[in-house]
C-alpha cells in the first residue's frame, strides 16, 4: 500500500479532521491529483517485486553504504575533528562576522529536524516494533557519509557573485562538477533536480508542514477551519521571506534550537525516571532488530521501518542540506563536509532515538503474556495504550511521565514546522532561480506561490498531493546520488589533500 510506503503521510491522513464544507472541493482536487500524479508516486515508492521493501529506501541506504566504504568510515574517523571545526578551533579570527561552521550546521538542522523526528519515529516504532530503532540508528550512521559527500561538493562548486552573495547546491555541483570531469548530462541532472526540488519544497517542505501544524493547534484549541491557520501562517511566512521581516525569523531561530534541546532534555529526564527499564528497553531494541518480537513482518519489517524513518528524517542523500551548507566561509570545502556529517547524527542518532526510547520505556506498546507485541485490530501496527499513533503516540508517551508536556510538544511541532517551511522556501527558491535566473520579480513569483501553498496545505486533506510532493523529495535523491557517484573521486581528492596537510601541521588551530 502506498500509504505505508510513506508513513508520515499515513499519519497525516489519519490525523486529519476535515471541515465538512470543504469536503467536495477537496475530494475533487484529490481525485484530479491522484489520477495525474499517481503513476509518479507509485514509481518512486514502489516495492521490490514480491517484497514490501520500497526501492527508494534501498537506493538511499546503498548510497550511504557506498560512501561509507569509499571514504573509509569517515563518519567515525573524523567526528572529533568535526566537533573542533564547529567549535571554531580552526576558524580564522579575522573571518569573524562571516558565516561560521556552527551557523551553517544550525540552519541546515532547522530544515531537517521536525515532524519526522516526532511523528515519523512513532510510526516506525508502532509498525516495526522497538527493533526498528536499531536499524534507524544504523541507517543514520551510514547517512552521515552521504551528507559528507554532498555538502563538500556543495561548497566546492558554489557560485560566488561579485556582490558577495553565495549560492550553492546540487544543481551547481551537478553542472560544474560534471563539466570539470568531462562527463555529459550534468546540466540535465541539474534541471531534473531543480524541478523535483521545487515540487518537494511546495509539498513536503510546505503543505505537509502547514497541515500538521494546523492539526496540532486544532488538537489544543478545538477543531476550526484549516484555512484560518493557513492564512495566518502564510502571512507570517510572507512577512519573513518577502517582507524581509528578520525579527520573526530571529525569534524562531532562537526558540527552535531551545525547543530541540528541551525535547531531548525532557526525553533524557523521562528515561532517567525509568532508569531501571533502560536495560530492558535496549534488550527490546536489539532482540526486536533481529527477531521482530512478533511484529508484523518480523525482522524485515523492523528493518524496513527503521531504514525508512532514518532516510526520510535526515534527508541524507537528498541534496537539500548541500544548499544550506554551501554559504559557509571556508577556504577548504571539505571542512563543511566534516561539519555536515554531524547533522544525521544529531537528527537521527540522537533526536529520533530519544523519541523511540521514550515510547518504548514508558510502555506505550502493548505486549502479550508471551512477551510478544499484540497487534491492533487491523493487524497493521502494534496496539498502543491509548490507541494512539503518530504525533499522538509520542505525545501520550511524554504525557504519561510529564502531564503538561504534550502542550509544549504541540508548540514545538508548530515551531519546527515553521522553521522547516522557511528553510524549504529557500531551497525551492534556489532551484527556481537556477531554472529561471535571478531577478526580483522572478523570485517574488516563487515566494508568492509558496505562500499560497501554505494556505492550501493547511486547509485541505490533500493526501495525494502530499504523497506526490514526498515522492518529489525522494526523486531529488535519485538524481543527486547518481551525481554523487560520479563526483565522489573529487571529494576523495579533497579529503586526502586536507588530511595530509592536517597531519603535517600545515593546517592548524588558531590561537
Amino acid at each position: 500500500m502506498t500509504r505505508y510506503a510513506f508513513p508520515a503521510a499515513a499519519v497525516g491522513a489519519a490525523m486529519l479532521a476535515m471541515p465538512a464544507h470543504a469536503q467536495s472541493v477537496d475530494e475533487k482536487v484529490n481525485q484530479i491529483f491522484a489520477n495525474s500524479t499517481g503513476w509518479f508516486v507509485n514509481l518512486i515508492f514502489s516495492n521490490f517485486p514480491g517484497t514490501s521493501f520500497p526501492w527508494i529506501v534501498a537506493w538511499l541506504v546503498i548510497g550511504a553504504t557506498v560512501f561509507t566504504l569509499y571514504f573509509g568510515f569517515i563518519q567515525f574517523r573524523a567526528i572529533g575533528h568535526s566537533i573542533a571545526l564547529v567549535k571554531g578551533d580552526y576558524s580564522d579570527p579575522n573571518d569573524a562576522g562571516e558565516v561560521s561552521h556552527f551557523q551553517a550546521l544550525a540552519t541546515a538542522l532547522s530544515g531537517t529536524v521536525g515532524l519526522g523526528n516526532i511523528a515519523g519515529v512513532a510510526v516506525a516504532v508502532s509498525i516495526g516494533g522497538p527493533g526498528a530503532t536499531f536499524w534507524m540508528i544504523l541507517a543514520g550512521l551510514m547517512g552521515m557519509a552521504s551528507k559528507f559527500t554532498e555538502c563538500t561538493l556543495g561548497v566546492k562548486y558554489r557560485n560566488e557573485y561579485p556582490d558577495g552573495r553565495v549560492s550553492g547546491g546540487p544543481m551547481y555541483y551537478l553542472t560544474k562538477g560534471f563539466a570539470e570531469r568531462g562527463l555529459p548530462g550534468g546540466r540535465i541532472l541539474a534541471v531534473m533536480f531543480s524541478i523535483f526540488c521545487i515540487l518537494g519544497a511546495l509539498g513536503g517542505g510546505n503543505m505537509f508542514q502547514a497541515n500538521q501544524a494546523h492539526q496540532q493547534i486544532a488538537g489544543i484549541v478545538g477543531a476550526y477551519p484549516g484555512w484560518i491557520t493557513g492564512v495566518i501562517f502564510a502571512g507570517v511566512v510572507f512577512a519573513v521571506i518577502v517582507g524581509g521581516l528578520k525579527s520573526i525569523a530571529k525569534v524562531t531561530e532562537k526558540i527552535v534550537p531551545f525547543m530541540g534541546i528541551l525535547y531531548v532534555g525532557t526525553a533524557l529526564i523521562i528515561i532517567a525516571m525509568n532508569a531501571d527499564q533502560i536495560g530492558w528497553a535496549f534488550g527490546q531494541i536489539f532482540e526486536g532488530a533481529f527477531t521482530g518480537l512478533g511484529v508484523a513482518g518480523g525482522m524485515v519489517g523492523a528493518l524496513i521501518q527503521g531504514f525508512k524513518r532514518a532516510a526520510f528524517s535526515n534527508e541524507a542523500g537528498v541534496g537539500s542540506a548541500a544548499i544550506a551548507h554551501s554559504a559557509v566561509r571556508t577556504k577548504e570545502p571539505i571542512t563543511e563536509g566534516f561539519v555536515s556529517l554531524l547533522e544525521p547524527f544529531i537528527d537521527t542518532v540522537v533526536i529520533c532515538t530519544m523519541t523511540a526510547l521514550v515510547i518504548i520505556i514508558t510502555g506505550q506498546l502493548v505486549a502479550g503474556p508471551d512477551g510478544n507485541y499484540l497487534l491492533n485490530e487491523a493487524g497493521t501496527a502494534i496496539q498502543t495504550v491509548g490507541g494512539t499513533s503518530g504525533v499522538g503516540l509520542t505525545s501520550a508517551a511524554f504525557g504519561s511521565a510529564i502531564s503538561w508536556f504534550p502542550y509544549v510538544l504541540a508548540i514545538a511541532v508548530v515551531l519546527f514546522a515553521f522553521s522547516t517551511m522557511i528553510s524549504w522556501s529557500y531551497y525551492g527558491l534556489k532551484a527556481w532561480t537556477y531554472l529561471f535566473g535571478e531577478g526580483e520579480t522572478k523570485e517574488l513569483v516563487f515566494k508568492v506561490i509558496f505562500c499560497i501553498f501554505v494556505v492550501i496545505g493547511a486547509a485541505a486533506n490533500l493526501g495525494p498531493v502530499i504523497d506526490f510532493s514526498d515522492a518529489a523529495i525522494f526523486a531529488m535523491a535519485v538524481v543527486n546520488i547518481i551525481g554523487l557517484y560520479f563526483l565522489m573521486p573529487i571529494v576523495k581528492r579533497e579529503l586526502d589533500g586536507y588530511l595530509s596537510r592536517l597531519k603535517s601541521g600545515e593546517i592548524k588551530k588558531f590561537e
Partner: protein, 144 residues
C-alpha cells in the same frame, strides 16, 4: 615613552567621553590613540538560509558603514588636532576583542566609557566594563 591607548568607541556619548579622557592622557605622555570599534557578533548565533547567503555581502557593507561613520567624524577631528590615531574594526565580543587588540598593539592602557546600565541589568546580561576589569591584560580605565 609613546604608549598606545586603546579606546573602545561606538559613537555613543559615553564612548566619546572615554575618548576625550584618553586623548588628554595621550597628549600628556606623547602617546597615540587606537580607536577600536567592535561589531557585536557571535559565531554561534542562528541565521536563516537567506541570511547565510547574504552574510558576506552584509559584512562588507557593515564594515564600510562603520569605517565611514568613524573616520568621517572622530578620526578626522583627532588627526586635525595633531593626534596620531589608528582604527580597528572587528566582529566579535566587545570585551574579548578589546583585550586582544590591546595585546596586538602592545597598548599601555584600555579606556572605555560605560553606558550606566542598572546593577541588575549588568548582573543578568553582563557588562563590558565588568568583563574587562576581570580580563584586561593592561590597566583599564572606565570613564563615567
Amino acid at each position: 615613552m609613546s604608549g598606545k591607548f586603546v579606546v573602545g568607541y561606538d559613537g555613543s556619548v559615553s564612548s566619546r567621553r572615554a575618548l576625550e579622557f584618553a586623548v588628554e592622557r595621550a597628549r600628556a605622555q606623547g602617546g597615540t590613540i587606537v580607536l577600536a570599534h567592535v561589531l557585536e557578533w557571535s559565531p554561534y548565533s542562528f541565521l536563516t538560509a537567506s541570511e547565510l547567503e547574504e552574510r558576506h555581502k552584509r559584512r562588507r557593507e557593515e564594515m564600510e558603514r562603520a569605517e565611514k561613520a568613524i573616520t568621517s567624524t572622530v578620526v578626522t577631528e583627532l588627526k586635525d588636532s595633531g593626534m596620531p590615531v589608528e582604527t580597528v574594526i572587528r566582529y566579535g565580543n566587545t570585551a574579548d576583542l578589546l583585550c586582544r587588540i590591546a595585546k596586538e598593539v602592545n597598548a599601555v592602557q584600555i579606556v572605555i566609557g560605560r553606558d550606566g546600565q542598572s546593577a541588575i541589568g549588568a548582573r543578568v546580561f553582563g557588562s563590558v566594563a565588568g568583563a574587562l576589569v576581570q580580563t584586561a591584560p593592561v590597566p583599564c580605565t572606565i570613564v563615567p
